[in-house]
């Protein structure tokens, strides 16, 4: 199995994951987005003034209403949403595939399918789940246009710490596994990651711009957003693992035949 094998498998898994994420986002998430936008249009969130801000500052403006939007809500919730989920799915799948190639034969005595599955799991936890716990997704109508810069910087900063943290944790786990054995190694790695992200989560500032946004819609939106991310990673992990395992079995069969022929 070569790097190419893993990249092709990763891109394919990512494409499937993008489709899965779109299906979940469209069916579970879009109703919540619509409810949030309806609230915003009704002016129910008192501390949120997209149009005013934009007009005053000349900064990026956008409108969620049906009338004056350049792109209709229908397009946003179908083609637009699919663009986002497919693009993110393919790059995350491809990158996960490449990282699974790095992990091949380097994660203790794990076989290719198991090391690939572990890489995908670590990707899901470090890139999506843990950052979601610190900076959860926000529906339309939450979040001021004035703080988008700092919120984005904080989000990317936290994701960077989390991903670098998991890479460091894997290094710790490998070192500890060589020093002692697999189980203490795994525990040491997990502990290292938990320490890094906990310290980072305490150090990074809190973002709270919810105002009077209804808690029930917020909860439903966040659950649907988390489900979208989990669907994406579940399909990346499952499809990539299955494809890698298939390639590995083929290669093993060929090598077994060669070994048998050589032994004759």
């Amino acid at each position: 199995m070569t790097t190419r094998t893993f990249l092709v498998h990763g891109l394919l898994a990512g494409l499937l994951a993008g489709v899965a994420a779109f299906v979940v986002a469209y069916t579970v998430g879009e109703p919540q987005v619509d409810r949030a936008i309806a609230l915003e249009s009704a002016g129910a969130t008192a501390d949120h003034h997209h149009e005013d801000e934009a007009a005053a500052s000349g900064s990026v403006s956008h409108s969620h209403s049906h009338d004056d939007a350049a792109i209709s809500r229908t397009t946003q919730s179908t083609l637009g949403l699919a663009t986002g989920t497919l693009a993110i799915g393919v790059v995350l799948g491809g990158l996960t595939g490449l990282l699974a190639a790095v992990g091949l034969g380097r994660l203790g005595s794990l076989r290719p399918a198991a090391s690939t599955g572990l890489v995908a799991l670590l990707g899901a936890v470090s890139f999506s789940v843990v950052p979601f716990l610190k900076y959860p997704a926000t529906p339309p109508a939450v979040g001021s246009g004035e703080t988008i810069d700092s919120r984005t910087a904080l989000w990317f900063g936290f994701v960077t710490v989390s991903v670098l943290g998991v890479l460091a944790a894997v290094a710790v786990a490998r070192w500890a596994a060589r020093r002692w054995s697999g189980v203490p190694g795994t525990i040491a790695g997990a502990a290292a990651y938990v320490v890094v992200v906990t310290v980072a989560a305490l150090a990074f500032p809190k973002v709270d711009e919810l105002g009077g946004f209804p808690a029930s819609i917020l909860w439903d939106f966040r659950i649907s957003s988390l489900l979208t991310l989990l669907a994406m990673w579940a399909v990346i992990g499952a499809a990539l693992t299955a494809l890698v395992d298939r390639s590995w079995r083929r290669q093993a069969a060929v090598e077994a035949q060669r070994a048998y022929a050589a032994a004759l």
Binding site: T3, Q76, S144
Partner: protein, 75 residues
């Protein structure tokens, strides 16, 4: 005779570490892969939002729902 000794072994008895792809071989793929992934991530998550390049709102509007539902900061 090393070959004769090792040859009857089935591939299943290969140690997983024998499969490891050399880092020298992996490095260029990783560099390009990481840079490309970052570019797409920024395009989908932040262009015409936190990053006000290029001018306008068309990209922002187009990927708007994806930004919210995939958990990127948006407004």
């Amino acid at each position: 005779m090393a070959h004769a000794i090792s040859s009857p072994a089935s591939a299943g008895s290969l140690s997983p570490s024998d499969l490891a792809i050399p880092l020298r071989e992996l490095a260029p793929w990783l560099v390009l892969g990481a840079l490309f992934a970052m570019s797409v991530l920024v395009l989908i998550s932040s262009v015409q939002g936190a990053i006000t390049i290029p001018e306008g709102t068309a990209i922002h509007e187009w990927v708007h729902d994806g930004r919210h539902l995939l958990g990127f900061p948006c407004h």
